[in-house]
Amino acid sequence: MMNSSILLEINNLSVSYPLAKQEDEDDAVDFFALKNISITVNAGQIVGVVGESGAGKSTIGKAILGLLDPRAVVNSGQILMQNKDLLSSTESALETLRGRQIGYIYQNPMTALNPVLTIGEQVIEAIEANTDMAGAKAKAYAIKLLQQADVSMAEDRLSKYPHQLSGGLCQRIVFAIAIAAKPQLIIADEPTTALDVTVQKSVLETLLKLSRRNNVAVILITHDMGVVAEMCEYLYVLRHGQHVEQAPTATLINHPKHAYSQALMASVPRIEKRIERFVLPQAEQATIANAALEYLLDKQVDTDVAEVPVLEVKRLAKIFTTPASLFKPKQDFCAVKDVSFQVHKGETVGIVGESGSGKSTIGRLILGLHEITEGQVIYRGQNLATLTDPKDRRDLCLSMQCIFQDPYSSLNPRMTAGENITYGLKVHGLIGAHQAKRLAQDLMQLVGLQPLDSDKMPNAFSGGERQRIGIARALGYKPDFIFCDEPTSALDVSVQAELLNLLKDLQQQLDLTLLFVSHDLAVIRQMCDRVIVMKDGEALEQGDNDAIFEQPQHPYTKQLLSSMPRLTQLQ
């Protein structure tokens, strides 16, 4: 049934963003978003375009539809849709093409839909613009479309507004709009990145179904190797706007030829098997003797408490209350329900769950960033809530630190990297101003940064580098316990692998105790000794890494595991 006629052909496409010359006269080099990219899509074929951030993936989709930013310049190339060049088409020709022949699916369904128009208005508008249907006929067709996109209670949804529906439903509505005029091609730009893994699976299944039924070709643009492995027949790998490698999916994933593709594949955390470290080409273990190590290892060890767990959480619960007003009774939202677990010296405990599962809230309760509603947190044998001596309390609190999720908001933008690392230490008089500078540099070196960069402001660093600064800051307090709150979820997969390797190395050298929260099962699989599975504030299951991943007991755990896109399904 495969129709192998060529539907879309991109030849040597280059797109650049001329930099405004006034900013810095010296290095006003045009920024190339795409350089000599060629892509071929056959009718009905699902083609994947993968790459990390800055690879120029989204520019391809926008270029096809003629929706490039007004500043962008097409330097060369052709985009042939059924042998008609789109780049030389007029705007009105493109207008008829959009929606009719090519549908588009955006990354974030919540922002792609207009917040002040109803779903019905937006779906019917697309139907009326691209087909002959109007009025009641268009409405009936809209309901049919929503049903095809697996939207439950389709008729009812037409009168709703986007903010009243979940992200998954909104994305299905975007699907329905995209297929309204039965286009031959759909461009899907990171269609599931904003969604939870269980929702992602069913949304992708819908996309696959729609594509098969109408023989629609799909260009799937994503950073997620798992998703392309499950969806695509053919892959293109891009990096910095340049073509790296192209091959059928199975070939590319199992036998990548180009060094970058090889590194990329090695960086993808696998769920099947736990490995020591990610095998990255240029990665060597950071065992250089470092002055910071001396500082970090120089602390009193309470031998008597070595036996008890570092952290014990007993029947912890958190209820967020919206206070009552004249017109509304008070509302309770139970974020964490009756969760208990222990963390022992030197181990990593993982908490995995989807958004809203309460996994981060637990960490914040332990760290004292939220008030505990019920239950106890016993840290190094002491209950923090009942500790009264301010100095003891401070010392205990300082020895619990956190590595945060968002590298772009976890550093004070108005302090240098070094200040960020040592400011608190100086305020508490734990080190002098003179030592502070030295320590900041040593710590920077320990986490794999240039020591002299400690004078730079945070905005001079990349996301991965900022996370390293965040780690250095946490280490400065000689912590006994570190809460890692999705520390790699905002990072590219290759950067993630490097960072996870660093965390593993540091843990080995410093005997760190970690509580590691993530939505990504594969990362948890690689990082943790024991795992807790959470949903809606409850701990559904906990156990050893192998036990959870190989013999899950709870149905939800099984569902999570089966939703995870896997690279191995191809074999």
């Binding site: 963003y17 962008a72 760290l367 609190c397 300082l398 908001s409 976890s410 608190g424 305020v427 800051r473």
Partner: protein, 301 residues
Amino acid sequence: MPMSTIKRMSNILWHQYKTIFAHYPLALMGLVGVGLFILVALLAPWIAPQNPYDLMTLDIMDGLLPPMSKLGTGTTAWLGTDAVGRDILSTVMYGLRISLFVAFSAVIVGTILGVLLGLLAALKGGWIETIIMRAVDLKVSFPGILLALMLLAMFGTGVDKVIYALIIGTWASKARLTRSSALSEMQKEYIDAARLAGLANWRIMLRFLLPNSIAPVLVMLPMSLSGAIGAEATLSFLGVGVPITEPSLGLLIANGNDYLLSGKWWISIVPGLVLVALVLCINVVADRIREHNNPFLQPRG
């Protein structure tokens, strides 16, 4: 402050200046204009041809002379004289001084007050926030000029009273802006990190929240300044602003108003033109700064 910090600050300022004003001749002209006006206001006692409030130097015989006339003392009144023989150029220079003094004092005090209250509301929450923000709502729902009129009607007039009235007109919008940007900063993880570092609230407020949430307020400052200048001029024109002994530009315009219809236009028009030029210069700069800081106009990608 160590040398390195000063150097860094000046580098940042220079860079800011370059990205905001280079290649925008209109805004640059505005900036130069503002600078000149401030300079004239500061130096008025030394560069004005005459001290218009020293009764000894005035001669009623010199009254109502048109521009370019020779005075009794032999000097030329380039821009004419008013009813009691004061040199208009000198009165305008002194008037500029008073207008700018009133506006600057009001905006600076009002901004500091507003920013602190806004930070406090964001950081403390609870009833403190409720009270501050209700007061802001109350103030914002009431036009500033009317409020100032009422206050001046209640408390009487005078330079200090005008400044108070303008402060009351300024603080609320700053407090609201600071609070909302501080609240969004508080969501960020570096604040949590500061809490984990066991830092005191005032330290978090001043060292973490303040520098990161002040930008929108700073962007608004030139606008507030020109607004305050205009408001003061309006109040003085209506006769409820500064006293006759310390005439600002607005009062000078009002003084000349009576002679306007009899053809002695310079008494009112000259201070008026200066006022418009001053406000325009500030607004041109303000527009450019706002445009530069508007995220929707930034180059993206």
